[in-house]
Symmetry: C2
Amino acid sequence: LSITRPLGFRAAATTAGLKPSGKPDLALIVCDPLTPAELRAHGRPIEHRHSAAAVFTQNVVVGAPVEIGRRWRATQSRGGQALRALLVNAGCSNAATGEPGIADAIATMKCVGEGLKCSTDEVLPSSTGIIGHRLNVGKINAAIPGLIGALARGEKADEAAASAIMTTDLVSKKAHREFELERHQVHLGAIGKGSGMIAPQLDSAGKVVPHATMLAFITTDASVEQPCLQIALEEACRGSFDRVSVDAHPSCSDTVILMASGAAPVRTIHRHDPEYFAFKAALTAVCQDLAQQVVRDGEGATRTFRVEIRGASSETAAVRIARAIVDSPLVKCAIHGKDPNWGRIVTAAGNAGVPFDTNDTSLSIGGVEVYRAGLPTGVARNDAKLLAAMNGDPVLCVLTVGDGTGSGWMIGCDLSDKYVRINADYTT
Amino acid sequence: LSITRPLGFRAAATTAGLKPSGKPDLALIVCDPLTPAELRAHGRPIEHRHSAAAVFTQNVVVGAPVEIGRRWRATQSRGGQALRALLVNAGCSNAATGEPGIADAIATMKCVGEGLKCSTDEVLPSSTGIIGHRLNVGKINAAIPGLIGALARGEKADEAAASAIMTTDLVSKKAHREFELERHQVHLGAIGKGSGMIAPQLDSAGKVVPHATMLAFITTDASVEQPCLQIALEEACRGSFDRVSVDAHPSCSDTVILMASGAAPVRTIHRHDPEYFAFKAALTAVCQDLAQQVVRDGEGATRTFRVEIRGASSETAAVRIARAIVDSPLVKCAIHGKDPNWGRIVTAAGNAGVPFDTNDTSLSIGGVEVYRAGLPTGVARNDAKLLAAMNGDPVLCVLTVGDGTGSGWMIGCDLSDKYVRINADYTT
């Protein structure tokens, strides 16, 4: 159950021939909002419409789809059109391709628009794969009529779309949540991909703040006012995709797009409605579910670990410390080797650029305190409980760095020789 | 030829029993300044004295020796005593050990001071090895009389000291330079260690600015006024140790200590003397030599790569971009696999937190331009010249990010499955 579980969405996937492997590589997700006639028939106000929101990487170098997505997003605050379709390909990221890359992407958007009889502006592209290669527009546009013809609802369509957007992913990623509104079940569905080049730090519509190629596409049949949808998405990303890292290298293509069809028979959600919080909670849960699937499928990863920081001066400081820990290759190798070498965790924290007093610093791993108020507790490295904790998945590390009220967390994965093999032989 | 090549230094090493391997693990470097009688006999002013300078890690979590070293350094601006001896051990870093760790280190300093008949304040300790373990003071102090008895000049003593401070290093690290002053040869010698937890970003006496366990001990028979010696060392580190990274994880113990014996029959160097620049150039060359040996011996490293950034707004911005590139696991794996996957280099640059315009950005690898003004140049991935460049050591990457005057460089090493094996099994 994922993207076509919410009412008002269809999906399809095919093999356009972009992946050298010959596997499916092109997916289309379409939003079918209620027509004016349907709105009238359902007794809904005519201004009840579909909406969409998006966040992108904060990398200075961005793929053409990100550039196009940002332009689309900028139109939303002045009443720009919502999205009817997302065209997602794997095998080529269309990044570092300049203006020609943008023209290529627009040519595919135009083809989808013509097929769906909507405006080009109602279509967004999204691409993942090798950087610095031109998109094969010919192959994509040749595949689009077939894709449109195959659009369908149901698990088969969801799985086909989720699989087509995979690159080094070993498993496809899908999530689903539902919540009750006015005695109706409102649905959220999502597909995502990501395995390497994962350390998402997503931007916001207001300012470009920090996100890897991680792609996530979320659908809901709620009706949500656009500015409110955008804010909900940004907040949900802060507590989900931004909190996972596989290899500390945010991609040029990280993208999360949320489409609300408004097809559920409930009223439109605005920012200060009590329903907003129920919606945001369900959205955050979907994002966290996908984000965890991504880090669990991190390239070469065998296990994950969760770092919680407490007692920092702010959440930002806490997350910064947590990020320094999950991104340290030495910590990641220790997790891989199930080695309770906690000095690496403490010193990684010390590199975060956030001051703290080691005399007020304590660390526990899986509930076993190994460092308290700046001193080793003396737990033996072969302590049974500690070894059991190091064998956990996730391994839970809680680091207290003072008595501040700031806390934060990050989820990382171990670094294995398989990661090296995958990435030493990616293009050759 | 290294630390005892300059006049006025002796060294020795022994096995105190700190390394589980049973290899030598304790070294002593002693400075023998000219006595008042010798100064008179040489016709040198009595205020011509020996001096010392030091820089340490900027990690928030520091080893007891770093804490003690900083306290010593703080006394230098108010005429504190120079150093007579450095006691360096491998096998235990005496870090994350709080006040008891400091007391342990002082007990060893005291033992050295008694043996050499100098003050405890004229001795500094330095430690590398496992974090979070107490130092075995009994074993160290039992070994000190023998060490003092064995102090000697010459290549054998240098090599013994260089070997005793190794941890995961595969080769010992020594460097030597000489320059002419008043028709005399003045010498600089150095030993160093470092292989993992290497991304030195050293502090300065003025402020704690950013340095891994990388240890380097430098000697010279020049006579250099202390504040001038400290500044020369800080500037030399900026252009050497701070420009190398193995694994982006600065250690809690990074230390560089420079001792000047003043034993060469030349006048004392002050900051604004023309001789200062000759001294600093030779010092920088020694530091660069050692730093390159460290990154070349990076854990699991098979090759190194050098990233040069040009056209940035400042040197700081340029170095920040270069650091983001050398520290990206994806770039490091591409170097390992000799894979010209240049999109990883460009996107790593885009994550540095430094804005630049991709339309003004170009990248060449070993002189082969792969990306020009935001567009791929179309060089085939199997281009013979490009493949030859990827097989180089170092692989040279030159990234131009605009038309600013800021430039900077970093040297990194590849990430191999051997790095993972070394660090997954470090303590267990």
